[in-house]
Symmetry: C5
Subunit: 88 residues, 5 copies
């Protein structure tokens, strides 16, 4: 997984029907993390807000591990970090 | 997922028979996104046009999530972004 | 998928028996494509020749989508681009 | 797999219920390794401590290979390197 | 797949029991290959020696294609290149 900060969200009205009901959050990986400098779009099964630091799982884990086995999803917010933790 | 812009398409007459009927769109990831600077080819299950900003799912999500479980597909356009949204 | 040019092939006599009968082609991704500057080795289910531009699928798509579900294959040429198309 | 050093851990109280009971370790890949310069977060099925060099498996291997097939996990510590080995 | 040279091996006594009996080889991708400059650790099902050029499959191919479906393995040596072949 990687740690990143939720920096925004995007809306898509015309999309796969399997994605209906999901929020698409833009996550910015921490500077020390894999993929830093490269935002990604993740669905959110936890309810994270803008500015929160989150754990993101990628690949088949996002689909299978979030009970969306048949949806075209390759990244998901699967945890919100407790506050006050230093990353780096 | 990543956000990119559809910049073109390519044609392939000699291809896996499991790919027949699909359009191959060239998607250019946004500058802030993972894989920026590196185009990729995605099938399109939504009907995106050149210049539209889209959500692209990669890996097994493109296959399993787009009802093409047995096709050699590793990237798919799964949503078109609503207009007027700032990315970055 | 990515677009690349077939630049060569390699031979391996001592290999997984599940790979027997496959050709290993070296594909060089186009300059604009994801993974540009980094060749990869793909099996070829289409019959591409040196110098042809091809579509390459990576990951589980190469295995499952090419009827080689149980073979250790992570990249496959799945289409040959029609001639005369501009990439970039 | 890659080799890295455990440099810390993070806590997440609000997370997928499938992740309850797991420790989230921050692993820093060795300088010579794939993904060097980019930390990642891995669950730990072995019991590694801060400063130990570990083997990390990524992708579906972390899920399926660690008996967590249905959890949103994409990286796992699957071995601790014996001491006194030179990497590089 | 990628082509690399076996440059060493590592030992891990404390590891997932599903990994018992496997050798962990350090493979250095060729300069022209994807992931060049970044070593990776692969299991070896062929019996490659230090200095040999090998084909490495990554991702689920390493697990499923090497009859280790339930092991936490994400890279495997699946072929040894015949000698005398120019790569690059």
């Amino acid at each position: 997984m990687i740690i990143g900060t939720v920096v925004g969200s995007v809306f898509s009205t015309r999309k796969s029907e399997k994605l209906i009901g999901n929020k698409f959050m833009i996550v910015r990986p921490e500077a020390s993390m894999k993929a830093s400098g490269n935002d990604l779009v993740a669905i959110d099964i936890i309810g994270a807000g803008i500015g929160e630091k989150v754990l993101v799982a990628q690949g088949s884990a996002a689909r299978v591990g979030c009970d969306m086995e048949n949806a075209p999803v390759d990244a998901a917010i699967v945890g919100i970090l407790d506050e006050g933790q230093e990353i780096d």
